[in-house]
Structure formats: structure tokens, C-alpha cells
Symmetry: C2
Subunit: 107 residues, 2 copies
């Protein structure tokens, strides 16, 4: 049976559109394999752009663009040391989100 008089406001526990949009935006960051690879690479150590570029066998520009996107989402931060800029994950949520994703895949 279904109730035709349901309105959006009657949905229990449904967060506001704004929050659901933010949630989707967060997952967008993990929805590209290049970005996932970058985050995976940053799990253990901080790395500079050329390190990542070499590891993933992709151009410096492509990596730099993606790092900018990840930084704008506050998933990575960086520090400058001379000419080199080292990137690292900003917090442990990144690790746990990726780990949880793998849990789902490897079952």
C-alpha cells in the first residue's frame, strides 16, 4: 500500500537539500579514479606533484588540476618546501571513506 498524501516534509530523517547536495559533492571527489589514486598514494606519505605524476604515469598538469579540486574540497592540504610543494590528506575521514568503499566492493 502506498499513501498518496505524502509530502517531502513528512519524510522522516530526510536531510535538507543543501546537505544532500554537499554529500553528493563530497562523493564526487571520490568518483574519479585519478583522484582516488591520488588519495590512495597520499595515505602513507606526503608527496609532491611530480611524485604523484610519476606514480600514476600522468602529466604534471593533470595531477595539479586534480589536486586543486581536492584541495578546494578540503580533502588535501599542502606545504611548500623550496620549489617543491608537498601534499597530504587533511584528515582521516578520507582513509575511512575509501576503506568503506573497498569493503563494499570486496564482498
Amino acid at each position: 500500500m502506498h499513501d498518496k498524501n505524502h509530502s517531502a516534509y513528512e519524510i522522516k530523517g530526510m536531510p535538507k537539500d543543501e546537505h544532500l547536495s554537499d554529500l553528493a559533492d563530497l562523493f564526487k571527489m571520490f568518483a574519479d579514479s585519478t583522484r582516488v589514486k591520488i588519495m590512495f598514494a597520499l595515505m602513507d606519505n606526503e608527496l609532491c606533484v611530480m611524485d604523484i605524476s610519476g606514480m600514476l604515469n600522468m602529466t604534471q598538469s593533470a595531477i595539479s588540476h586534480q589536486l586543486k579540486i581536492l584541495k578546494s574540497a578540503n580533502l588535501v592540504t599542502n606545504r611548500r618546501d623550496g620549489k617543491t610543494i608537498y601534499y597530504r590528506l587533511s584528515d582521516d575521514h578520507v582513509k575511512s571513506i575509501i576503506a568503506q568503499g573497498f569493503d563494499h566492493i570486496l564482498e
Copy 2:
């Protein structure tokens, strides 16, 4: 070897490209606010297409297309009861992935 795909596999602890692609594909499912809303709506009860369509104030077609995508990713399943087809989440990973995402946002 200077095989283009070889270098990525030399990274310690870096899963294979195929798995990282699967991971990104999984997160793609959560990277659209319509799909997140649908999954959220299915957290408590199973619902038919028109229920969801009404809740989200979107066309039946749009919801049906997205449900097909979610089903192809094995995130939802369905059962037919007469004319109506009820959808539900296929497992609890969906809930925990969304919950983890919210943890990150609400801090």
C-alpha cells in the same frame, strides 16, 4: 620496462587499476544528489517509483532512470507486487557509506 601501465603497479599498497576504477564507479553512485535522495528515502522502507517520484518532486521517468542505474550497481533491488514495483536497498553498506559521508560533512 617502460610499459605505460606498469609504473602504477609498482606503488606499494596501491590496488590494481581495475579495483580503483570499481571504487570510483561505486562512489559515482553517491555523487548525484538525486540518487542520494533516493537511497536516503529507501533507508527506512521499501518504496515504489511513484512514491519516490512524489517525495522528491521529480518525474517518474527521471526516478526510473536513476533506479535502473542504482540497480545495475547492485545498490538496490526490487520486487513486483501487481502493477507496482517496490525498491529497497540491497544491503547495509549503502547506509554506512552515506553515514560516513555525513560524518565528514558535519564537522
